[in-house]
């Protein structure tokens, strides 16, 4: 009877989506979630990482390790971006940190950009993933961040990726596109144009 009550009590705080995990993995992930919640970190990214692991049929220990690592990185990102950072900013900050951006770059971005940092941080991570050296990517994003809109940053990434696909060295492609700043000013939506679904 007492055991049943304890089990019920333990289940009360568990997100029902985590029922896709095996009981042991679920319990460990729930512990990580509780710790994150206790220090004010967003838990939804952690839940999604656990669900990704479950859908990809990853072993329980690997899922727990991924969730723990993400929780720790969210904490580092918050230290760099400040306690006011939103959950999407923190997730993008984690991606930028894992791509090799120093914490100081994140803090600098916070100081120079008025808009939310999610797109700028993602651009940094995506440029590095495209082969751009981390320091070049950071310099480019810091140069663009003060004035570029989110749509401009998306267009910038696509332009760099196009240049790389055409054979340009990643670092050089980034530098050229940063210097040709006029290219990023024309990415806004056309007035009166019909809204169409975007592509990733």
């Amino acid at each position: 009877m007492m055991l049943a009550l304890l089990l019920v009590a333990a289940q009360v705080g568990t997100d029902p989506r985590l029922d896709r995990l095996d009981p042991d993995t679920r319990a460990q992930v729930t512990t990580v979630l509780d710790s994150a919640r206790h220090v004010g970190l967003p838990t939804e990214p952690l839940i999604q990482r656990a669900l990704e692991g479950a859908t990809k049929a990853a072993p329980g220990p690997r899922i727990v390790a991924a969730v723990r690592r993400l929780s720790a990185d969210l904490g580092v990102a918050r230290t760099a971006l400040g306690t006011e950072a939103s959950a999407p900013e923190l997730e993008a900050g984690v991606a930028a940190l894992r791509a090799g951006a120093p914490s100081q770059v994140l803090a600098s971005l916070r100081s120079v950009r008025r808009h939310p940092l999610t797109m700028a941080l993602s651009l940094l991570a995506d440029l590095v993933a495209s082969g751009v050296p981390a320091d070049s990517a950071a310099a480019a994003v810091l140069a663009l961040a003060p004035k570029a809109r989110d749509a401009d940053l998306v267009e910038f990434r696509r332009a760099v990726e196009r240049d790389i696909a055409l054979g340009a060295p990643p670092g050089a492609a980034t530098s050229v596109r940063v210097n040709a700043g006029a290219d990023i000013q024309s990415a806004g939506s056309t007035p009166g144009a019909q809204p169409r679904p975007r592509r990733p």
Partner: protein, 161 residues
């Protein structure tokens, strides 16, 4: 013909020149109506106030999250002529293959999803077993891919920035 018209005109003029007979008590009634205080039109103001509140709520929509208001429509496409089924799974649908099944036309699989601003990991699940990244989007790099299956990433920015 002109004589007839002149006759009509003369009759109209005579009619207009007739003195107007006004009731002698009219002035007194007008002054009394002005002096009497009008009761407030209670029936109208509550409705006007309610309408104003309703319009404010419709414009403000406090029940909708701002992220929902900024949600953008994204189309995901995968060319897989040999596939029998393709599902889109990611951070936006709890990685549940049943939530976003893709439709095909001549081997081109597509689906449309509403996404609020944020950074999302996602992948295509082909035939319920084969994982594919989106060839038209940035791929999750190896150090960030803990599960050994390819994934892509899409970032949704704010509309106002």
């Amino acid at each position: 013909m002109f004589d007839q018209e002149d006759d009509v005109v003369q009759r109209v003029i005579q009619q207009l020149r007739r003195p107007v007979g006004i009731d002698p008590a009219l002035d007194a009634r007008v002054m009394q109506a002005i002096a009497t205080p009008r009761p407030p039109a209670r029936g109208l103001w509550p409705w006007l106030a309610a309408a104003a509140v309703l319009v404010s709520l419709i414009i403000w929509r406090p029940w909708s999250r701002s992220s929902e208001a900024e949600a953008a429509t994204f189309q995901f496409v995968l060319v897989a002529p040999q596939a029998n089924s393709v599902s889109l799974v990611g951070d936006f649908n709890d990685w549940d293959p049943k939530r976003s099944p893709m439709r095909t036309a001549n081997g081109i699989w597509a689906t449309v999803v509403q996404l609020a601003p944020g950074r999302y990991r996602y992948a295509f699940l082909v035939n319920g077993a084969e994982w594919r990244a989106d060839p038209s989007a940035p791929t999750i790099p190896a150090p960030d891919d803990e599960f050994g299956k390819p994934s892509s990433v899409v970032t949704v920015g704010g509309t106002g920035s």
